[in-house]
Amino acid sequence: MLRFSLIFLLIFNCSTGVWAKQGGVAFDGSIGLPSIELSNPDGTAAAYDGLSLQGRLLSPIFEDSGIGIFLQGVLKYHDLENTISKSGSVEIANHIGPGVGLSFQFARLSLGYEYMMMKARHYYIGAAGRSIEFDYTVGSMYAGISVPFGALALGLSYGYAVGKILKAETGLSKDSDYTEQTIWFHLTYGTGAKLGDLAKSLVKK
């Protein structure tokens, strides 16, 4: 971990020459590698991996000299498969939903929190196929770094989310604990414009 920190600082300092200022409303598209776990009533857990996609609209509340506070709207999608799936016994799942959040950015670093309202569909494919659909909410924290290239920026972030799937949604005897860890790869486009100006440009003849 110490070795990694030293490498990180070295690369960060050598990269200052390519820094370009971005600002205003930004659009962020991300692809992620999720690791998700749902608990069962008997204490066992179902683990999933797969692919995640995310889109964000970031609107600045405050921006000054490399520091920014952003309000964000998020749409997230997880495409998952249970890690113990095998031929003849497969569980797959799709989770999708919107959310809102707040992020704090300092130079290349960002920290944020999102509140998501997700809809999930799980399918069991085997001799007796079954499916279930349920809703849940989850709170997610993330930390990331990004490097700008003009109006664009490439970024990397780590997200950690926890939530509960209520037993009233699933019919199980207990609520299920939801835990998520995701690595996200970001491509961000900063428009340089305020949200109001951007909205006007969309309806302008």
Binding site: F8, I11, S15, A47, I84, H122, I132, G171, L172, S176
Partner: protein, 318 residues
């Protein structure tokens, strides 16, 4: 030239970050090891039915929802010829099946149908019938005029007489058939030939006979323990009857149903609703009745897999 080399640290940086975080998240990822119960329908509960028909041969375990709707054939031993006898729950995904020929306990996954040998012993021979789960990894199984105990797949005791021998105190077994555990954790057994209901203290490595009562009717076979503190059992000696008795066998059994709906009862189970399921060998049907003896559904499950039913197991909603 300077601009070109400027990007080199960035590329190196992203590569190291990605590799490090990927390895970290993989190492710290969820252990899992299970499927999500709600996705498999275990939030709804399941009914498992074992049958062993000699001709035409049919030896299967089938799965239904709690309304009696067919879901799947879990296990088909028709070709192998195993005689399927008792069912007990192992965990939400697996059951224990007792078989006569071969004389053993098998663990069966109710979703994949995979069956593996769980317990057998050179001393585990004779007529194998019902099996019941006493605790995790502990099973009590009928073997002719005795009851065997298996702990973690091994016979207990490892050698010598069975855990419950033919005669123990005031209890004498003559062809044991049905087993159940009452709410106090005591073992209740039906003794077919001498028409007795027997109660044992099985809380220690040595069993003790607590009570032996007459079944009133003759040839008692299936027996179940109900959360209301009562036992319900069926007799095959005319008239075929369903009886109710206190779970400590205090007092004489009371008949709750003895009409055309009861015809050679061979297996029983308790639904989460509190109603009873009774499998009739003559009509090849499972009926649903209340604890007061009212018939709710005279054809709760009746299909090609309900001939000569040997056991019914209800897995409650998880």
């Amino acid at each position: 030239m300077r601009a070109r080399y400027m990007y080199l640290p960035l590329i190196l940086f992203f590569g190291i970050c990605t590799t490090y975080l990927s390895l970290s998240i993989t190492g710290c990822g969820a252990d899992g090891g299970s499927l999500y119960m709600a996705a498999m329908g275990l939030n709804e509960g399941r009914i498992l039915v074992a049958n062993s028909v000699a001709a035409p041969a049919s030896k299967t375990i089938t799965m239904y929802d709690l309304s009696g709707n067919f879901i799947s054939v879990v296990l088909d031993k028709t070709v192998a010829g195993d005689v399927l006898r008792g069912l007990a729950q192992f965990d939400p995904y697996n059951i224990i099946l007792s078989t006569d020929t071969p004389d053993e306990l098998k663990r069966v996954n109710i979703f994949t149908g995979q069956a593996v040998a769980y317990a057998n012993n050179a001393l585990f021979t004779g007529n194998i019938y019902d099996t019941v789960k006493q605790a995790d990894g502990v099973y009590l199984t009928v073997e002719s005029n005795t009851i065997e105990k298996f702990v973690g797949g091994s016979r207990a005791p490892a050698a010598g007489n069975p855990y419950i021998n033919t005669t123990l105190g005031a209890c004498t077994i003559s062809t044991a058939r049905g087993l159940t555990l009452n709410t106090a954790g005591e073992l209740i057994a039906t003794s077919f030939t001498n028409a007795r209901i027997l109660r044992y203290d099985v809380s220690s490595s040595t069993s003790v006979c607590s009570t032996s009562i007459a079944a009133v009717g003759t040839q008692p076979v299936p027996i179940v323990s109900h959360p209301n503190g009562m036992l319900y059992f069926g007799t095959q000696g005319a008239p075929d009857t369903i009886y109710e008795v206190a779970e400590d066998l205090s007092g004489a059994p009371t008949a709750i149903l003895a009409d055309a709906n009861i015809d050679n009862p061979v297996a029983m189970a308790v639904l989460p609703s509190g109603n009873l399921l009774v499998a009739n060998d003559t009509t090849d049907a499972i009926i649903e009745i209340t604890t007061a003896g009212m018939v709710v559904n005279s054809s709760f499950i009746k299909n090609a897999f309900t001939g000569t039913i040997s056991a019914i197991l209800v897995i409650p909603p998880q």
